[in-house]
Amino acid sequence: MTAIRFGLRLGRWGPLGFSFLTFASSLIQAVGFYQIAGHTAASRAAFAQSMSQLAAQLTFILPPPAGLSTVGGYVEWRAFGGLAILFGVWALVSGSGATRGDEERGLVEAVLASGVTRSRWLASRVIGYAAMALIAALAGGLGLVAGVAVGGESINLGPVVEICVALAALGLSCYSLTVLIAQVVGARVATAAAGVVLLALFLVNRLSQTFTWLAAWRWISPFHYYELNQPLAPGGAFDARATLTMLGIATVGAAVAAVAFEWRDLGAPLVRWPSRRSPAGYEASRSPLWRIPVVRGLYERRAGLATWAVALAALAVLFVYLTKTVLQPLLSIPTLSQFFGAHAGGQLFTTFLGYIWLTFAQLLFAAFAITQVARWSAEDSDGRLEVILSTPRSRASVVVERAVALTLGALLVATASGLAVGLAAHNQAVDINRERLAEGTLLLVPFALVFAAAGAVLAAWNPRAAVGLLGGLAFASYLLDELGPLFKWPTWVQDLSAFKLFGTPLSSGVDRGGLAIMIVIILVGFGASILLMERRDVGA
């Protein structure tokens, strides 16, 4: 019990943050439903019709909807469908942190030295996460109940609790799988390896809607079992067997992880490749790259940048294929073909790709910026910044070098994804506006820099809280872009969202005004970061 309490204490900010996110997400979607769909059967039917068209475009990310004319069906699709991804990411970060992150920090060694067995420690972390995931999921249910109350209606609590239990079970299964993978591979690659596996499991399930040959593999994905639960939609039900399967995955994953943990050396992976023994060396690296400002920063994180570039290029190719696959059946319907032709002005594929790919790419570039800010915060808290500042460098030069390195890193990743889109489109013999593709791809760089500039301010002000606050800011920015047009908020309010400033460069070209605002935010953000850095204590 003490170990569980300790585990909960270590991860106390996770459930608080995610409870807020789940509550806000379901509350906003429920309130939004009443605002947009209204209260008459006819208006709700029209709303369901328009939403089902949107759902067809979002099959790569959200499950197929059911009962969109009801608040339960809509929130189940829009909020709880998206929360599945959020819980997967949370489980990944929390699982790899609890396993290898705490080991790197020496925490696990200290705990084991106190007499706690390895299996008991691991079990306590899994049970602790299960409790946290359930709390956060129930907060989502509470948000739905509150939203329905705001709409002047009521909802049966049973199905609400059921979807929350299913969501927590999904998070727990992802957590156990992460913990298991983290036992097998090295600490350096634990998060990346588990991330690749969870992303693959997510995509196998989601893409099986589009690529039928993948349907035979759906059973391996916990996301599939989560989607079998539709208790909120009319006619849907809680699938106890699917939920038990998710809990089974979690139990088996944790049990195998415990066995692996017992087998391996602390600090080492279960599977170790024999390393080549090299003779001792007393020379500094002779690579000239370490001496060139900015280049040394990029060179240091070359593996991470290469991973980002390759992953985004691969996803970009996938989205090109996906867009074509989604678009072709729609175009075979004459009325839809005429409708799309009228709205897309002859650039049908470009417009669709812009919507599907660039929307997703924006989220990834926001995540890219957040990971770089996390690195700045880590440099501060682990003492690396102190050592860097013990060399004859001004604090301003550190901020500027970080900003330029991030710009070039983002440019590299954006270029890789843009080239991948262009080549895949050419390979698929589909017409695409290359000029707009180049502009839209390059616009991802200032977009990432907007978040980086905000992160630079936060990291200079309070490095420990920077990542959490920036994540919250990114989420708020995304919600603002989603909800602003629905609630008809003033333009200046909507312009506060970086997603809104990005605009729709593939379909309507680069929004010069939005770009100018982004540049101002970047300059002001990094300028403020320099001022804050000059004034603050480092390493205190």
Partner: protein, 262 residues
């Protein structure tokens, strides 16, 4: 003409000799609740090895961070070779080699990459100097930082502090984690640096170490400097050991409280 140049050089040298390696004037950093550093007046002359003593939380690391310009003073000033540590911190660091109390995490970077990375930022690092220090401490720079033991991490820190042959070394508990053989190697390196013209400011808990390598000691208690003395003067005056002097600044109650388990 040559005479004029020699005169100018001589005047410069004299001025350099006159300027303290470290000087602080009423230097304070107040963290509240009586914690921090208060009214520190310190003078470290060139080519001196100054030992800075005090129990945990006395303010040793705070002093060092103020000298390095990492934290801002609440009052007073600190100067290194006449340069303001707060205003001219870039120039100060050109002349300083710094070893922090805790080595930062460089993760999967190899030792040689860490040296190249920080050496590249500093500039002007002699590869022979790097090789010499790494070899005498038998520090394998081909290994990854995460594979280093705590002693090897400390050796890397020493290498980073000494590699550019600085005029002043600021070292926070430099022998923490070093085995006795490497401690002796470090003392030798310190003597060589001093003989080469460098000044040294080192904090330590190890009284025998301070007695062994330092010319002057300063004793800090609750953020205040309570004694500065040259070790030669203490010996000449026939004063008791440094340990006795150090402990005399702590009341019996203090010592009893420290000795008793919580």
């Amino acid at each position: 003409m040559k005479f004029e140049v020699a005169q100018l050089h001589g005047a410069y040298m004299l001025r350099e000799m006159a300027v303290s390696a470290i000087r602080t004037s009423k230097l304070s950093k107040d963290y509240g609740a009586g914690r921090g550093l208060f009214d520190l007046d310190l003078d470290v002359i060139p080519q001196e090895v100054f030992g800075y003593l005090g129990p945990n939380g006395a303010g040793k690391t705070t002093t060092i961070r103020l000298l390095m310009g990492m934290i801002k003073p609440s009052a007073g000033g600190a100067y290194v070779f006449g340069l303001d540590c707060n205003r001219d911190y870039v120039e100060v660091k050109r002349r300083v080699g710094y070893l922090p109390g805790d080595m930062p995490q460089f993760g999967s970077l190899r030792g040689k990459e860490v040296v190249a990375y920080l050496g590249g930022m500093r500039g002007g690092v002699d590869p022979k100097s790097v090789h010499g220090i790494a070899e005498r401490f038998d520090l394998d720079l081909n290994r990854r930082f995460r594979e280093y033991s705590s002693g090897n991490k400390r050796k890397l820190g020493i290498l980073l502090a000494f590699m550019h042959k600085p005029d002043l070394l600021i070292l926070d508990e430099p022998t923490n984690g070093l085995d006795p053989l490497n401690q002796q190697e470090f003392y030798e390196l310190l003597r060589e640096a001093r003989d080469g013209g460098a000044s040294v400011f080192l904090s330590s808990h190890v009284l025998s170490e301070v007695e062994h390598v330092c010319d002057t000691v300063g004793i800090l208690r609750d953020g205040k400097l309570v004694r500065v003395a040259r070790l030669d003067d203490l010996r000449a005056a026939g004063e008791t050991s440094l340990e006795e002097i150090f402990l005399s600044y702590y009341s019996d109650t203090d010592r009893e409280q420290k000795a008793l388990p919580e």
